[in-house]
Symmetry: C3
Subunit: 524 residues, 3 copies
Amino acid sequence: MNSYWKSRYWLFFLFLVAVLVSVGVKGVAQNSPLNDPLYQLNNKVDSLIDNQESLNIFINSLWLVIAGALVFFMNAGFALLEAGSCTRKSLINILAKNVVVFCIGTLAFWLLGFNVMFGDGVNLLNNQSYTCPLPNTNIQTHTGRWALGFELSFPTLVDPSVTGVQNSNKGSNPLGFPENGFSCLKQMWPNRSFAALFFFQLVFADTAATIVSGAVAERVKFNAFFIFSFVLILFIYPIVGQWAWGPFGWLYQLNFRDFAGSTVVHSVGGTAALMGAWLLGPRWTQFDYDPQKEIRQGNSTSVEYSAPEDHTNKLNIAHSPGFVTLGGFILWLGWIGFNGGSTTYLSYVPHIVVTTMIASAAGGITAIFIVQGLADQDPSLGTFINGILGGLVAITASSAYVRIEQALVIGCGSAIFVVVGEAFILPKLKIDDPVGAIPVHLGCGFWGTLAVGFFANPNSLPYGGIDGTNLPQRLQMISIQLLGWVVICGFTALASWLAWVAIGYGIFQFESFNTRRQILRQQG
Amino acid sequence: MNSYWKSRYWLFFLFLVAVLVSVGVKGVAQNSPLNDPLYQLNNKVDSLIDNQESLNIFINSLWLVIAGALVFFMNAGFALLEAGSCTRKSLINILAKNVVVFCIGTLAFWLLGFNVMFGDGVNLLNNQSYTCPLPNTNIQTHTGRWALGFELSFPTLVDPSVTGVQNSNKGSNPLGFPENGFSCLKQMWPNRSFAALFFFQLVFADTAATIVSGAVAERVKFNAFFIFSFVLILFIYPIVGQWAWGPFGWLYQLNFRDFAGSTVVHSVGGTAALMGAWLLGPRWTQFDYDPQKEIRQGNSTSVEYSAPEDHTNKLNIAHSPGFVTLGGFILWLGWIGFNGGSTTYLSYVPHIVVTTMIASAAGGITAIFIVQGLADQDPSLGTFINGILGGLVAITASSAYVRIEQALVIGCGSAIFVVVGEAFILPKLKIDDPVGAIPVHLGCGFWGTLAVGFFANPNSLPYGGIDGTNLPQRLQMISIQLLGWVVICGFTALASWLAWVAIGYGIFQFESFNTRRQILRQQG
Amino acid sequence: MNSYWKSRYWLFFLFLVAVLVSVGVKGVAQNSPLNDPLYQLNNKVDSLIDNQESLNIFINSLWLVIAGALVFFMNAGFALLEAGSCTRKSLINILAKNVVVFCIGTLAFWLLGFNVMFGDGVNLLNNQSYTCPLPNTNIQTHTGRWALGFELSFPTLVDPSVTGVQNSNKGSNPLGFPENGFSCLKQMWPNRSFAALFFFQLVFADTAATIVSGAVAERVKFNAFFIFSFVLILFIYPIVGQWAWGPFGWLYQLNFRDFAGSTVVHSVGGTAALMGAWLLGPRWTQFDYDPQKEIRQGNSTSVEYSAPEDHTNKLNIAHSPGFVTLGGFILWLGWIGFNGGSTTYLSYVPHIVVTTMIASAAGGITAIFIVQGLADQDPSLGTFINGILGGLVAITASSAYVRIEQALVIGCGSAIFVVVGEAFILPKLKIDDPVGAIPVHLGCGFWGTLAVGFFANPNSLPYGGIDGTNLPQRLQMISIQLLGWVVICGFTALASWLAWVAIGYGIFQFESFNTRRQILRQQG
């Protein structure tokens, strides 16, 4: 019994050791969290994850800011291209227009445009607003956040590099989104600060408005252009932009794809420009145009006057080819941001830049060969640069979806659109476009939008559209691209026509339609 | 007994299994580190932390470089704005000044300026130098590192992407800081390479010097301007800059806040410009100014001469509005880096860019409306662009601290300062400022500095000043802002006056004070 | 017996508890992976590593894109510098050349140049191609990938920020490298996307071609320049570039170091420019040059003609100093990307930018002092800006290897090369270089290449060459630098001479060597 108990004690003691050992292991692994290496490691890792998310947000947001800065600088490019292409006489008017368009566009886009284009849904029928995820029903009736302007909240995300802050404290609103109204945008472009998204989309919107400026140069009144730009960015651009890019755009859901805006930015700008140039009529002496004839034929009581001497012989003379070239280079540079910033996949940025460069080079070289072949003459600098810009406009819709060889074909094709538009179509229609903005932006915008249908590759991660591996699918893609372009440009044409006419009639109070051209004409 | 021992053996065997199992668990978890998964994981995590710190350093330093590049480019903007605003005759002198100012400023800032502004403390009384953390006593006597120039050490931080290097080896001096003299700067701007900080601050300093150039255009001697720029960047700018931005700046410690330099850069540049423009007198024929009258009234023995024919009628004519506009756009672009690079919180960069854009747009639009309203005339391109630049100058002090609506108000206000300064105050004082640099940089710098007091929001992480939730606090904020501006501009005015006069008297050896103006006058 | 068994049961029960406890610990720690915290943590960490690699790739690739964009913009700088330095008459020809050179260079570099310079090895003797790692034997026979063009594959790297993707899925080809042909490049520049590398090298190549444009301005035919640029980027530049920068460059393996291309880009461009300027002869009236004399002396049957009136008196007049200055600023800005993008060590980017800025400032200031001292005249704007550009060219080879003081010396030295080259050597040789491209790019390229031998510091991580701590090593470094420069410029001179003559003889079908100059002459 003694030995029995002895053995029992001994065994019990052994058992205790075993349990303690086990518990010791558990203790180290789980029981006392603060000294537990696994727990500590977990904390370290959680802090790493936090900081990595911060770094990810910083890279994405900074890239949007940098790309946006390049796009912003395109305003200077448009201004110089246009100023250099016109006569010295119109210089100040042209420059002022190109500066003011950014100012007024910025306010309009903040006031309403951005809300309409990227705000959460509002159902016009029942005046009810939604936050994402939205029911996919009645998507046509969702036309934006139902409010003017928005507050820019302060981000609460602390940079891990700030002294004394070990973990990035992401607080309640790390990305600075307004409290409500943009939950869908946050889903579409995750990990970007709200301000970065607004800035990037803002400079895009202003690009659309600047395109108009070129086609109506030398004859639009400063104030008329001012008001038109405001209307364009307030309503027209955001409505069609929402169809293709917005969180519940019906065209996007039909698999219409417009990567960085061959349709949304360039064709819209080109269409608004076409309406303006058509309604304003050509510059004096261009196409033998004399506005007095129209006045005489109408019932106008305006005083007659003749084209001033110095105006007559100086048309179509680019007064500063240096400005034209510098403007072209600035636009070319800006397109790196324009296309490169438009993707949520940072891994595609360099790919996009390369296809963009290849298409522009192909456009330029093709334009030179066509002009030399066609006209047996030295290449015109303006046409050459427009060939490059045409290539850039055309690749805009597909730069993330195509390979080099396809970018080359797209670039070559766009030069044809530019040359044919400049040399044949516009003169035929007697539409005077001093800088060739309409063939470049509308013509190549059309070609670029279609080219997505021809060439888009399903292997491209950002594409996400119809798999075009067989002919019927390709035809479907092309049809949808065509449909999207026609609908957007049709709406824009109608809305722009209304806006231009309303500005002419309503605000400048002219007596007859015939004299509208005078009233909209450039200030002395 | 047999069975008893049997059972004991069996129990002992069971116990051994239990212990071995426990020990096995412990062994795997802790005992042999090299095979221990927790140990290995810990190593992996440590390597991740290292690499994450490297990535953080890269993002922060690259952003400073990119922002600095944009600010550097502002030199081109100032050159074009100024060249375009003046007559063709002065073109080469103006351009050369705007190029040389960067060269000489760079050398001056390396030689002394950066040391004074951001170097560790030196107590002038006992000639003792400190490293951070500093005792907070006698802060006024700390006026910088007590040495000329500095070495740029090679960073030892290895990019984790370099082949064969699995961990980033951060070595002894990952950020390339000099061995001593800048420990305070390293604390203030953690995780940025020394070279990145120097480059960013360098382009800021040169901006201050470039501002002067505009106001003294068309009449300062190249060499006089050259020497003044050297003095400005060597002494004046760094001393006042240290008060507001330096590691122990007494104004900063009083809660004076100047985010990106409405006072430190723009008001200082504007004050130096004002002193120069006042001492140089106006350009000939401007304000009916004729320097010969002064010569006659004085005891000068200089030969009399009259304004050259071609000089008389061409004043106030911007010979190249294209340059003015392009210059304006380049400055506008550069401000994205100017304000965007000035924060240690990367999450605030897009916010800052948006408030900057909004204020500039508001400034431009307001300037147009004021000029049209006041003068019943078409907006002047120069005033319009100065309205935009005024908005940019004003928002500089507060772009990280305010919301969109407040940026809008600040922008609108600055246009008033620009127009009133250009149209009323300068002509009243007969101070000739060919490009309007004084109203834009000094006037809007004043307004922007005060606006921090009115609008700064304590919810903004970078703000870190007085909590302005009630009126007395607001009044305190405004008073401190006013105090800082007055002290800095007062010191700058005095020092600039001394420098201009010393250059005039000492170096160009004129006979009387009256003729100083001639001697400083533009080279033929 | 009962108590005996009882105790046995009890002990067995205790034992079971002990085992279960142990097993429980093991189970938590190892056995059931999905619930095992260590396993889960490991997964978290693996996902962190994946995402960190993605972030690293994004930072590196985006920086290459941004730096490449700045270098791209240098094309505008060269165009303006050149256009501003020449007469208004040649303006359009000059601008068109500077635009087309990027277009044609882009296509040539895609077609062949990039393959030759960075493609995997091809042994010409046995027509066998290699992938890395290569045997180091017969390195001279490896002359590039043996194919025309390449496909741009779509990257499969998913941004961790894309919604719903928790881990970055790096797929089979995260960096978008073509399936074969560029394995060596992938090793040399790890963690950069293929497209980013191509874009960055592309803009470098085009810079070399653009340099030529300046020296042959005002007299080369557009089409001759067009073809020469194509040949230069197709063959000449990539062959010598491969020697110094390619994956098995024999000069690199000899420890020849040319950081960002003082030799590879600038001296090559300068040599090609020198051959062109020498073969074309000077502009009319420059150096009393009259091409008719040569025609008379030869057997040419060409009609004689005299220099047109308006050509005679306007040579050497920079028609737009504003363009020259703006061009200079744009080049200066571009150099931040040119040098800053050329390193695989992101930690060196700010260091590189600072040495670059210091050298340029030193070059500019020295140029001003030399010209004022030498000629007792006001500094010429062109020489001043060329001093700055010379400093930039010279620091290009060593900006990552030297300190501020050494950058200062390099910058000062380059100004001497510029002034001596412009004022003495070129006039002596009667070589007409309208913009001073040859002294700037060839002269300072030579000085910068040698300066690596004098100043390169082994403490610089990117250097990786000979340790120059004693004199014999320094002498060896200098000799190798000299050898590399002589070999590369010798080959370029020969190949360029052949190309210019072949274009003159073969394509433009002139009758005699004397009249070649006319035939290559600028279009009317």
